[in-house]
Symmetry: C2
Subunit: 124 residues, 2 copies
């Protein structure tokens, strides 16, 4: 796993999600529009978050007519890292413990469990 350069904060993550959802580089305007609707953030707030992400190496600036921003970290990659991080920090390094918690805490529906069972049949 290529590890992350620096931590991505909650607010910054919102920006990453917009880019990940778009599946392509976006100009600041686009990002701003989404986050203005979604979170009520001002244009400058979005700009600050984007700048910080560039500094952190999570986004790349592409010069076109106007700057476009492209994620250098994929959603999968980040999610994997976050999941592993949670496992290490709170589940004694055991993913099984995490899953057990999810199962117990109603986090998983009956269908989820059924699907997971299938998944484990197929895997390996």
């Amino acid at each position: 796993m290529s590890f992350l350069p620096e931590k991505i904060s909650d607010s910054e993550l919102e920006v990453m999600k917009v880019l990940w959802e778009a599946g392509d580089a976006l100009p600041i305007t686009e990002i701003r529009t989404v986050l203005q609707a979604r979170r009520g953030w001002e244009a400058t707030t979005v700009k600050t978050l984007v700048s910080r992400l560039v500094t952190k190496g999570a986004l790349q600036q592409e010069k076109r007519n106007v700057f476009y921003y492209r994620p250098l970290i994929g959603r999968e990659e980040y999610s994997d890292w976050a999941a592993q991080n949670l496992v290490d920090r709170l589940f004694k390094g055991s993913a099984r413990n995490l899953v057990a918690t999810l199962v117990k805490s109603e986090g998983l529906s009956a269908e989820d469990i059924a699907e997971l069972r299938d998944m484990f049949k197929v895997e390996d």
Copy 2:
């Protein structure tokens, strides 16, 4: 699930873990000893973290000969919350997606997979 009063930071979590592991209230001295060994933290650093946790309502101070600190939030409870939080923030609210990620990621050992498979055989 009784929700958490405030966020517990990474460093603060280290303190909580010491208490959770102890399974009982501890005096600051004990906590400090563990964290001095485990993290190299100074006595005052530990004191600050403990104080913040008390302020946040995560720890309760018990007056004896000397103050003893007792977690008001259980490890299970916190872990559940953290897991759910991760699911909501990065896995589109689907715990199944998280599990799928754990399975796919290199972070899972063969034994982990085996255990998970067993778990799903037994569960439900």
